[in-house]
């Protein structure tokens, strides 16, 4: 199977999207699920949320972070990924929740935000609010990629107020919680704000499903690398999650474990930069 890239667009200076041919994944796509990508035979197995599946293609929103995501950014339409494996994970059920808020920022948040809101809105009795927050105006995704097309209400926020509302999603949800207008929160993106949001929603007695991003290797439940601690019990983000009841997650462990390979990631990036120096 050739996983050809059929579309590639920049979302802003730090994020891009790709469409990849992967009929087997597209056929079984579930909102909130993810894939494992291996770009080249020597590459890592990296998890990536699926934004949508259309015909035999799936879409990813990718943040340029380290070696793999940057190298992939230099690829063009027509190039093929070595492996695209999925869909993986057990996302929370799409059912009637009432007033639902899906909030996202940064890596692996906006893709599931789009995917899940699109389905949640189809359920009678749900009123879906999508909040997407970005640091500043230049980080905001192009309009057609934002969730205003798939939610009842869409709130765009920038931390410096340069576009949309001013603040992080934390600030916006706080107001909604205060007004007593929320029955269920979903959230994805950077881990520290997810911890803070979990604490906040707990205070208001509102349930939350939060994406606990962890380092994955096989993503089939065989290595234990992605272990998260839920009320003291060990779960695996790759097969039990990655979304869990945010009130029960051991967030300090999750934040700590995600940084385990930081030095190695920097080393990989340095080697990649060195290699690219001679290449035009």
């Amino acid at each position: 199977m050739k996983h050809v890239i059929t579309r590639k667009e920049n979302l802003n200076s730090a994020d891009y999207l790709i469409d990849v041919v992967a009929p087997e994944v597209a056929r079984r796509f579930v909102p909130g699920s993810f894939c494992v990508l291996i770009t080249i035979p020597e590459g890592e197995r990296i998890p990536m949320s699926i934004q949508k599946a259309e015909d035999d293609k799936i879409t990813f929103y990718i943040k340029k972070l380290g070696k793999t995501s940057r190298e992939l950014d230099s690829w063009k339409v027509g190039d093929s990924l070595y492996k695209v494996i999925g869909p993986m994970g057990t996302p929370p059920p799409i059912r009637k929740y009432g007033n639902v808020v899906f909030a996202s920022d940064l890596v692996c948040g906006h893709a599931e935000n789009y995917a899940m809101c699109k389905e949640l809105i189809k359920i009678d009795g749900n009123h879906v609010t999508s909040i997407q927050s970005f640091p500043t105006e230049v980080d905001v995704y192009p309009e057609k990629e934002l969730c205003d097309t798939v939610a009842d209400k869409f709130i765009l926020a920038t931390e410096d107020g340069s576009k949309g509302e001013k603040g992080h999603y934390l600030d916006i949800i706080k107001d909604l919680l205060e007004a007593g207008k929320v029955d269920q929160v979903f959230a994805g993106g950077a881990i520290p704000p997810l911890r803070d949001l979990s604490i906040l929603t707990k205070k208001y007695g509102v349930p939350i499903y939060a994406t606990v991003r962890q380092i994955m290797v096989d993503a089939t439940g065989m290595c234990g690398s992605c272990r998260v601690f839920i009320d003291g019990e060990q779960k695996l983000a790759c097969i039990d999650g990655p979304m869990f009841d945010g009130h029960k997650v051991d967030w300090e462990a999750a934040i700590s474990r995600l940084a385990m390979f930081k030095n190695k990631e920097a080393e990989a990036m340095e080697c990649y930069n060195e290699k690219m120096k001679g290449v035009k």
């Binding site: 993986m88 089939t220 234990g224 300090e252």
Partner: protein, 458 residues
């Protein structure tokens, strides 16, 4: 008069081999193989053969090697064993064929494993393959898992003419042979070559297909005439003590998958990283623990400790591998049991608490039972810990097959012919036993192939 001592195996010197991932044994030359084979007294009733789970014609193979008929020897071995170059290297021969060899009574048993590896290597180097006349049948069999159990069953069924598709979760076939056992024990060119044979004879291998996740078990049941479940026992067990969240604490599976499947020992040329410290501790003393310890040593760890609650004399690891590990400077700390993992404020492991043990009575498996000695706790500095306590069946598959009868620990239940409670669904290998050996899994695969044939002809 037979020679009492075996022809010694040339090996990479310990000081050299701890710097690379190349094969430790260098293999027999033709002359050495012939000399070793000639020691065989060709017993009338060979005790070695019943000791082999796939019932290879060991005596005949050795006879042909002794007479320099390597091709013939290879073809005989291939008849019962889809992957002789691999089993020759990883079987616990000392407990099976070699363990019951008559010559072992007065001297060394015949070096059956190394002779079989020699023959298979020779065939590979000389391009000798088995020629099969396959009488095609329209019946289709799905096999879940491309480990030793799955591939053996696939080859046998294919030889019988069935249309066989293997679904494998990972991006490479081989199961533990690929992701678990390190290349210094099982070189990857050997693995690749023996697996290529499957595709040559027309076994369809669907990689990246996780039954229960991106393929439904019910879908397989609708589309195939029979199914063989060979999903192994891949999920790691943890200690369930304080500190398992700490950075620097790995399951053996994660450590070995990073190193062997993802080639972390070639980082940064290969992208997957691995972290190890100067002082690495490994809990357990099975093959998995030793493989982890020896990998850590090769990656560059200064001191590597095996922390075991029994003595190495009653360890489940192969004898040869314990000897190799000792030569490589792995330090065995026996009769200690981990009580807690100690970390610093940044969330990194800094050490481990250990309690001394003593033996008291015998456990269910007949091994001396270790019990903790009160007030004997001590601490040891470590910067990496690898937990190699064994594995359990992967629940990803099981949760998608709730109608399948299993034991409480997740092992699949079958009758004597390896059929599960679901008609036409068979199972074998570690998924059934919870963990055994490559050759036992292969034996299961062969027996199941016969049972599947029978059921398809009913």
């Amino acid at each position: 008069m037979a020679i009492q001592r075996r022809v010694p195996m040339r090996e990479q010197a310990p000081e050299e081999r701890i710097k690379n991932f190349k094969s430790v044994p260098l293999g027999y030359s033709k002359e050495e193989a012939i000399t070793e084979a000639k020691r065989c007294i060709q017993c009338k009733n060979p005790t070695c053969e019943p000791g082999c789970p796939v019932r290879m014609d060991i005596k005949d193979i050795i006879y042909e090697i002794a007479h320099e008929n390597f091709e013939k020897a290879f073809l005989i071995s291939k008849k019962d064993n889809a992957v002789p170059a691999m089993t020759g290297r990883v079987c616990p021969q000392e407990e099976q064929c070699e363990g019951v060899c008559i010559l072992g009574k007065k001297g060394d048993p015949i070096n059956i494993g190394k002779l079989f590896a020699f023959v298979a290597d020779w065939a590979r180097e000389n391009g000798i393959t088995e020629h099969l006349e396959i009488k095609e049948s329209a019946k289709k069999v799905a096999i879940v898992g491309a480990g030793p159990a799955g591939i053996t069953c696939a080859v046998d069924l294919r030889k019988m003419g069935y249309q066989v598709t293997i679904f494998e979760a990972l991006h490479m076939a081989g199961g533990v042979l690929q992701y678990g056992i390190p290349p210094f024990r099982l070189p990857r060119d050997v693995v690749d070559y023996e697996l290529a044979f499957l595709e040559e004879i027309g076994v369809d291998i669907q990689l990246n297909h996780i039954v229960g996740q991106n393929v439904d078990f019910s879908e397989l049941r609708e589309n195939y005439d029979a199914i063989y479940l060979a999903t192994g026992a891949g999920a790691p067990k943890f200690l369930k003590i304080d500190g398992e969240k700490l950075k620097g604490v790995y399951s053996a599976n994660e450590f070995l998958i990073r190193v062997n499947l993802m080639k972390a020992y070639k980082f940064p040329d290969w992208d997957t990283p691995i972290i190890y410290g100067d002082k690495v501790g490994v809990i357990g003393c099975g093959n998995v623990a030793l493989d982890s310890a020896r990998c850590a040593k090769r990656l560059g760890a200064k001191e590597v400790f095996i922390l075991y609650r029994r003595t190495k004399a009653c360890a489940p690891a192969r004898e040869e591998e314990i000897l190799h590990a000792m030569e490589e400077g792995i330090i065995f700390k026996e009769m200690v049991c981990p009580s807690r993992i100690i970390g610093n404020d940044d969330g990194w492991i800094t050490g481990i608490g250990l309690i001394k043990t003593k033996f008291e009575g015998i456990d269910k498996a007949g091994r001396p039972r270790p019990v903790n000695i009160k007030n004997s706790e001590m601490e040891m500095d470590l910067d990496t810990l690898i937990i190699a306590l064994g594995t359990t069946p992967n629940r990803l598959f099981l949760s998608n097959a709730p109608e399948l009868d299993t034991y409480s620990w997740g092992g699949i239940k079958t009758d004597d012919s390896f059929e599960t409670n679901l008609k036409g669904v068979f199972a074998g290998g570690d998924a059934l036993t919870g963990g055994s050996t490559v050759i036992a899994a292969m034996g299961n695969g062969r027996d199941a192939a016969v049972a599947i044939q029978k059921s398809l002809n009913e």
